[in-house]
Symmetry: C2
Amino acid sequence: MYIGFSEAETFLRNCQDAVIITHRNPDGDCTGAGFAMKDILRQLGIRSRVVCHDVFPKRYDFITEGETEEDFEPQTIIAVDIADNKLMGKYQEIYGDKVQLCIDHHISNKNYAEKTLLRADASAACEVIYDLAKFMGLKLSKHCVECLYTGITTDSGCFKYACTTPHTHEVVAEMMREYSDINFTRINRYMFDVKSAGRIRLESRLNDMIETYLDGKLCIIAVTKELIEELGITDGELEGFAPLTIQYENAEVGIFIRQRADDYKCSFRSADEVNVSKICETLGGGGHAKASGCNLSGDLDDIKKQLIEAVSKAL
Amino acid sequence: MYIGFSEAETFLRNCQDAVIITHRNPDGDCTGAGFAMKDILRQLGIRSRVVCHDVFPKRYDFITEGETEEDFEPQTIIAVDIADNKLMGKYQEIYGDKVQLCIDHHISNKNYAEKTLLRADASAACEVIYDLAKFMGLKLSKHCVECLYTGITTDSGCFKYACTTPHTHEVVAEMMREYSDINFTRINRYMFDVKSAGRIRLESRLNDMIETYLDGKLCIIAVTKELIEELGITDGELEGFAPLTIQYENAEVGIFIRQRADDYKCSFRSADEVNVSKICETLGGGGHAKASGCNLSGDLDDIKKQLIEAVSKAL
């Protein structure tokens, strides 16, 4: 059932002992949303813990550190930024069909939770949570605003992507006016600019691997297990490279493929007009119009053929 | 003499036959500011032309194209985004000491014009022009807003840098609400993401050249004439690489050095706390706290020593 701010407020003010689930391969938005929600619940006197199938990447230490996860039998199950309970990883089995409140911004949300606060026009789940906290009249902590800003800036590509709305800029203007002691520039620097020498080399290597199809309108970078082993990197280190696939001027769709244990994770990006969410839905996935994904199994060459055909139809 | 919006309005409404000067090595801000100002003057019934020492780079075609530059004897000299008339190149001799109105946002502005509208807290000259146009009660054309947005987004690094204020976000929110038919995402894509295969290779090459000094707190990339010849690139193609110098986590100051005909252009970037404008002032240059520059002559190794010493003192 889709609900509004008022019902979400009632739910939050009356819940207890909550588990907050974030999606696997955690990004800035689900990490920020998870810990912002924990901060908000703490303010309401409700204990909670944030869980994730994967370890939160080191670059989000400023969000996660200092947070001790209390041990308690959960009474409340909340999901943030999770469009589909399949994205919970190992927590799907435990909590997948028990989610009482889901706060999300994905138009592709599967409506798997008892109550879903969905704002598909929000740049990030963190933007929804900010608006909800404002609606509830809460005065957010500095840390909470750092979490929320991180989610908004990462999901919007630092206000670069089409999910950035006037309201996104208004929310951020308000944050910056009210929390002038936060070093927003530093957050952006760490989210977008700081790279290890290894990551810089990796990016160069991936740039050398761009394959173009369909008169250059489709670009693919495919990273195999062999390459991952050769480079000595972890799966987490391959996060954030999908935008490399739409660097070329003619590119309309880009796909970043990563081989995993049993399948290939395909991250789609749209340069401008193509709705890649629709393409991904035909392949069993989903997401946003400009950034979506699907997971495919089989032989890499066959997968590429399948992807090229699906994109060709959409162009 | 420093003036406010009211006096700038009076000046603009009463001027005629204006030349609008932009700085050499034109960037998104001076290009956007120049053509936005031309658009505003046209609306006031005043003819003008935009001049620049260099050719405007191709990526600003959407700003400059369709603009025919009329031939007339100028009665009014306006400079936009020019902190020092030395930055006018060949136009310094013709107009350098005749500028009647300068609109700028550089704290280092030399006050060389008869009247200067300086807002050092603005992210871009384009932000100042937007505020001035609002003050004047003008309804801007779509093209004018595209020009102004381009200046703001490029000078603020897509709202990433410290010059981004709450007001910057408010201005952009207002632009996006009022001009929903503008494809802001496309502007950002072309300003930040689209790269030629050559530029991608160039970036990889420059990344390989990062030198670290002072325990990694200073990073330098130095591009010599020999390298420029070897790579077969023009000076304009080296624009926009200075941020590469502050990619490493420990970097506090980065310097991108480019050899020119008679000297070396040194572009400074500050990662966080160091005011590089002050360092550049000791070397005869200037700019913003986080992005400044100076030009040095002599032997490259001696220049590096001089730079390392100047940065070392500031750390």
